[in-house]
């Protein structure tokens, strides 16, 4: 039923509007990509679809709560970049660690952190991962090996190298996924980290999320060597690869090679994910530095969720109904998280003074 009706409505639209025929072309293009795409089981695809959708819906809800004044300060949404963390997380095993910047909600959900705890941190409540004391940019989960949530551009990069150092020191074959933005790639400490990581063969994967902009500055305007950031490790002997960050399977494939490289003790590796953020830099950014067309083109032709959806449907792995069921499940999770984030009380005033120092 649902399947049929949605088919009908899409047929109506495509006959009516040119834009829709473009969309259809995009669908065809993605189908083409699907045939070239690395093999994935239907179960994998369903899982990635669900996980990416969870991030998307979660972020949309966060944006909404921000608009309602329930979330304050800076709030950087991850919408558009979902394939990066989901593809990378698919390559990890127990004990692997993750660290990133302030654009961190997607990473937290990908590591399996509870959406309720994440949302409640966004609203600054007791039930949040940092008891409300960290906020959107500063959340951590020792249990899920998620090391934050860092507000100073570039600062997480040496921290990630340090986590990798500890993983190596302890004799594990675990790796640290160290995410960084394109803008952050101009911070000196990134290169200091590259040098040490190679020198000591640290098991660290530097995942550059090149979403084309650092705030209002395009990567071309900030990078002397243009948009190619995966080359930035060359001087330090770090192999670097460019990856289609809008395709979860391409991410996973690159991620698997990178993880294998690290686990084999071959030192650091760079993956540059070509990706895109649909929203402004933070909630207060009108994003006038790029055109609507640019954004729409990415949304319509390169959306990471649509891509997987197309593969599922076209490959006959799922029906519209199956996907609707997932949509429903995800919506439910997000709405419960939103409810929890509003019901959880503000932290007790005594919390102001806790967690500054530990007793020696």
């Amino acid at each position: 039923m649902a399947n049929e009706s949605s088919k009908k409505s899409s047929a109506k639209k495509s006959s009516a509007k040119q834009a829709a025929s473009k969309r259809a072309a995009a669908k065809r293009a993605s189908r083409k990509a699907a045939t070239k795409a690395p093999a994935a089981t239907p179960d994998d695809l369903m899982q990635y679809y669900r996980d990416m959708l969870l991030i998307r819906r979660f972020e949309e809800k966060a944006g909404q709560l921000y608009g309602m004044g329930l979330i304050g300060g800076f709030c950087h949404l991850y919408i558009g970049q979902e394939a990066v963390v989901i593809g990378m997380q698919a390559c990890t095993k127990e004990g692997d660690c993750v660290i990133t910047s302030y654009r961190d909600h997607g990473h937290m959900l990908a590591t399996g952190m509870d959406p309720k705890g994440v949302m409640a941190e966004l609203t600054g409540r007791e039930g949040g991962y940092s008891k409300g004391k960290g906020g959107s940019m500063h959340m951590f989960s020792k249990e899920k090996n998620f090391y934050g949530g860092h507000g100073i551009v570039g600062a997480q990069v040496p921290l990630g190298a340090g986590i990798a150092f500890a993983l190596q020191y302890k004799g594990t074959d675990n790796v640290c996924l160290t995410y960084t933005g394109d803008g952050a790639m101009n911070q000196g400490q990134v290169y200091e980290s590259f040098n040490m990581a190679t020198l000591w063969k640290l098991p660290v994967i530097f995942v550059i999320e090149n979403n084309k902009y650092g705030m209002g500055t395009s990567v071309e305007r900030s990078s002397a060597t243009g948009a190619n950031l995966h080359d930035r490790g060359k001087a330090h002997g770090i192999p670097g690869f460019e990856v289609d960050g809008m395709d979860v399977l391409a991410v996973r494939e690159a991620g698997e090679d990178a993880v294998a490289h690290c686990r084999a003790g071959k030192g650091p590796i760079i993956l540059e994910m070509k990706t895109y953020r649909y929203r402004g830099h933070s909630m207060s950014d009108p994003a006038k530095y790029r055109s609507k067309e640019e954004v729409n083109k990415m949304r319509q032709q390169h959306d990471p969720i649509d891509l997987v959806r197309g593969r599922l449907i076209d490959g006959g792995h799922a029906s519209e109904e199956d996907l609707k069921a997932i949509d429903k499940e995800v919506k439910q999770i997000v709405s419960e998280a939103a409810d929890f984030s509003q019901q959880s009380p503000e932290p007790d005033p005594s919390e102001l003074w806790t967690d500054v120092l530990l007793d020696a």
């Binding site: 304050g72 300060g73 800076f74 941190e121 600054g124 409540r125 940092s130 008891k131 409300g132 004391k133 960290g134 906020g135 959107s136 940019m137 500063h138 860092h150 507000g151 100073i152 551009v153 570039g154 803008g183 952050a184 101009n186 911070q187 000196g188 400490q189 650092g214 705030m215 209002g216 500055t217 305007r221 900030s222 990078s223 530095y289 503000e346 932290p347 005033p349 919390e351 102001l352 003074w353 500054v356």
Partner: protein, 460 residues
């Protein structure tokens, strides 16, 4: 003339050493650069080279001697044409062994005896003349922009650099319009590379340019603090006055609203701690404009601390061609007789609000806007305390070694006899700033905290 070969100091901490081995004997000819001995320091065994040419006339300290003080003559070198007869006079002219151990320096003293090396007192500059002419209403954001605009128009060597200052028109829209007016040569978008562009700015300032370096917020200046202090603040001194850095580092400082611990810090006392820097932190738009213009013209590095919450607040600003406010002069923004309240930046507004509340309870507070943290206008504060006999210092930053600590110490030194109550400090809670709305409010000092502190020092 014979040449004395002295026991060398081979490390910054070496005061004596062992003459481990002579590589030459009396009568040997040596050239400069020849290794003549091996000397053991506390850290290593070092080769000791001759610095002159000649013949070893006499070895004064035998191989194996321990505890040879630095600068003790260890050998005598005969120059060309000299023979051993020259040696007798050489002995006589030997300096009296090694200089004695330096006397331990007197421990630095605090009051009441003034420390021996007290800095010369800095006299506060004359205040700007009272403005009676026309004014216009400007937001702090516009006043800052106008100041940069005027100074860039006035002086070709002034340029502006920072993240998003040009095409984006400033992350907080403070630099609006400057790119259009002055072009990309003088209004420069940088990559996110604070230590790099702060250092580059200092280098350009060494060359006589006058950079205005904007930090998107001062929280990010921590990436660059080494260049600010080690390069900008110290070079004038280290070069014996040859070159300094006429540079302004500016941007929002302190807490904004709910932006969490890493984005909410007051750096006033951090920078004010360092000699070689001036630190300014205005509240009103008129002061923002006049002080920024003075800062740009100042031949020294000036840290200019703004506040995001004030950017949108409007004030009357003198409608003058060239409105300047001197750095180093505080301003009494509300006269009163019962208690002195000092504040800077956003805390001035809260202090005035507190003064209103205090007035309702019959306490007449005098509010001083410090404007400049360093140099600090101690004179104005002391004069006020001589009248009120009580003082409350307010700041958003942490208490430990804060601006309030400095004021408390200064009042003890300079106004002790006039104080009828201990100095009170109002400040941010001594914790990283929490995100939760209720905790953030508890952490930041509000007008009510000032009211309470003022009442306490009035014993009310």
């Amino acid at each position: 003339m014979t040449i004395q070969v002295l026991m060398p100091a081979l490390s910054p901490t070496m005061t004596e050493g062992t003459l481990a081995k002579w590589n030459v004997k009396e009568g040997d000819a040596v050239a400069s650069g020849d290794v003549i001995a091996e000397i053991e320091t506390d850290k290593a065994t070092m080769e000791f080279e001759a610095v002159d040419e000649g013949v070893i006339g006499q070895i004064l300290v035998a191989e194996g001697t321990e505890g040879v003080a630095v600068n003790t003559p260890i050998a005598v070198l005969l120059e060309e044409g000299e023979d051993e007869s020259a040696l007798s006079s050489a002995g006589a002219s030997a300096p009296a062994a090694a200089p004695a151990e330096p006397e331990p320096a007197e421990p630095a003293q605090s009051a009441p005896a003034a420390p021996a090396a007290a800095a010369p007192a800095e006299a506060a500059p004359a205040a700007e003349a009272e403005w009676t002419g026309p004014t216009k209403t400007l937001a702090v954001r516009e006043a800052l922009r106008d100041a940069m605009w005027e100074e860039m128009a006035r002086d070709e060597s002034v340029f502006l650099m920072g993240e998003e200052v040009a095409e984006y028109q400033g992350a907080y829209k403070v630099t609006q319009g400057l790119l259009d007016e002055f072009g990309a040569k003088r209004v420069i978008d940088t990559p996110i590379t604070e230590q790099g562009f702060a250092g580059l700015g200092v280098g350009a300032a060494f060359m006589g340019l006058r950079p205005i370096v904007e930090f998107m917020t001062f929280n990010f200046a921590m990436q660059a603090i080494d260049q600010i202090i080690n390069s900008a603040a110290k070079t004038l001194y280290m070069s014996g006055g040859q070159m300094g850095a006429p540079i302004v580092f500016r941007g929002p400082n302190g807490a904004a609203s709910r932006v969490g611990a890493q984005h909410s810090q007051c750096y006033a006392s951090w920078y004010a701690h360092c000699p070689g820097l001036k630190v300014v932190s205005p509240w009103s738009a008129a002061d923002a404009k006049g002080l920024l213009k003075s800062a740009i013209r100042d031949p020294n590095p000036v840290i200019f601390l703004e506040n995001e919450m004030l950017y949108g607040q409007s004030f009357e600003v003198p409608d003058a061609d060239d409105w300047l406010v001197p750095i180093g002069k505080a301003k009494v923004v509300r006269p009163g007789k019962d208690v002195t309240i000092t504040a800077f930046s956003i805390m001035v507004g809260r202090a005035l609000e507190a003064a209103e509340k205090l007035a309702e309870e019959g306490i007449d507070a005098e509010v001083i806007d410090l404007r400049s943290i360093r140099p600090l206008d101690v004179e104005t504060i002391v004069r006020s305390v001589q009248k009120t006999n009580r003082i409350v210092s307010c700041e958003e930053g942490w208490p430990f070694a804060g601006v309030g600590s400095e004021i408390a110490a200064l009042m003890m030194e300079r106004a002790f006899d006039w104080l009828d109550a201990p100095v009170a400090r109002v400040h941010g809670a001594d914790v990283p700033l929490p995100y939760a709305a209720n905790l953030e409010k508890l952490a930041l000092p509000q007008a009510q905290s000032i009211v309470e502190a003022a009442k306490a020092v009035c014993y009310r």
